[in-house]
Symmetry: C2
Subunit: 268 residues, 2 copies
């Protein structure tokens, strides 16, 4: 499996992807799923991939070959981000179709889903989710992030935090927490994490990092997030039967008999 998330805020774009691929439980490998096509000052695209690795690597290889060969369309020739998504979608459909017949007989799933984001100088930046059919949807201020792969574990933190006015770095921290939560709850998603940031008004990748278990920033995020969450849970409102005093040792509350105890007797 895979987990990739792209976030669009007023200050720019954040891309983050895990790197674990799994053909089965005993065939786990590390492959990059975040691919950068950067033509600084002119245009810049980030492609993140989920699904059949043969399919997605074929798409990425073809994108690079079209650029090298000067075949049009290519990522440098397309008019805008939407046209880039159309082009990527066509390559995706073609890559799937090439092996679909033999794959079906073998019971192999060849489908893939992509996130394409970036900017063409002069246009606003954007992020799009390209489906296996080649069609796509774009993020919007109401839905400022897109996910592919194992998306459920990391969705609540995005739903709570990400708004168009969220700063780019807070959005990036949120993306890292979203992936870290997914890694912790699901073995099919794993380190290292690839992170790329594109600032609004710039046609280039602004920052790029690979975070592994021994990267100080990631280790610190990983170690401190649980403590922050625990403190947040503890600071939530008391139940009616708990002492009202904020900050009182919670151990005291559990053994205090309250009128509510007696209600238990009336329930059956």
């Amino acid at each position: 499996m895979t987990y990739c998330v792209a976030i669009q805020v007023d200050q720019g774009l954040v891309f983050a992807a895990d790197t674990r691929t799994s053909a089965s439980f005993d065939d786990i490998r590390v492959h990059a799923k975040l691919h950068v096509f950067d033509f600084p000052g002119e245009r810049c695209f980030v492609l993140m991939t989920s699904g059949n690795l043969g399919t997605t690597q074929a798409v990425v290889a073809r994108l690079r070959r079209d650029l090298e060969d000067g075949v049009t369309p290519n990522l440098r020739s397309v008019a805008d981000l939407n046209a880039a998504a159309d082009y990527v979608g066509q390559l995706l459909v073609a890559a799937q179709a090439q092996i679909a017949a033999s794959a079906q007989s073998e019971g192999v799933k060849v489908g893939a889903t992509l996130i394409l984001g970036g900017v063409v100088a002069g246009d606003p930046p954007g992020i799009l989710l390209v489906y296996s059919l080649g069609n796509w949807i774009a993020a919007s201020p109401e839905t400022p992030y897109l996910q592919i792969g194992e998306s459920k574990y990391g969705k609540p933190i995005l739903d709570r935090i990400i708004r168009p006015h969220t700063t780019l770095e807070d959005a990036a921290r949120c993306a890292l927490v979203s992936i870290d939560s997914t890694i912790r709850s699901n073995v099919s998603v794993g380190l290292p994490i690839d992170l790329a940031i594109l600032r609004a008004g710039e046609a280039r990748i602004g920052e790029r990092m690979r975070l592994d278990a021994d990267t100080p920033l990631y280790a610190e995020i990983h170690d401190t997030w649980s403590r922050k969450l625990e403190a947040a849970v503890r600071s939530l409102p008391r139940f009616p039967w708990e002492p009202a005093t904020a900050g009182a040792p919670l151990q005291q509350a559990a053994k205090t008999p309250t009128p509510a105890d007696a209600q238990g007797a009336q329930q059956q």
Copy 2:
């Protein structure tokens, strides 16, 4: 869909369940999925249900009828919690089998999954997940919670927080946050939330609440949790290109040119 979670900590058991059922997007209803069988001082069971509502209501109805009719086994006659799970599992298999043939032809899924927890006086309390085949697994100190239904959204907060030494009330707060996160990220899970607490050493339900949008406690949890999370995200480590000063307005960081900007030019 459904989301139910049971947590076992040293201080006792927490049960929490949403109440939304959906036959389709245009057939959404409220049905209780948390059922209490309380014989105070003697024994106490909580059953939470996920899956086909006809199946789960048949199981609950049969459990109550067996108690009323004095048919054995029943929840009052079984020797211990494991025997209760065996009995509940048998009723579950029977309820599914009764309609399986006609259901298959109609394309209806009749399966259900249950969480049974509680205590028989003199035994330690426990929680078990009863599968549709009638078999079951128990929670343990290493895996101190069980979930049924739409479990992925609410799993990370449990993985981060719940340990055997977590207080009963913190575990209950965590369960509420886990369900609130799921409700926010998935429309198939909805309010109100049913909550039940059983304290270790007592053979009765200690506390029981139904929390809806206008319940002050729930409204406060719902409103403050996002703010707590946002503060937690903001307090995470700075990126290398951000000013090191903790608490500096984050807006300043995004526009500061740094050496890392230049690296973008080297990536393609």
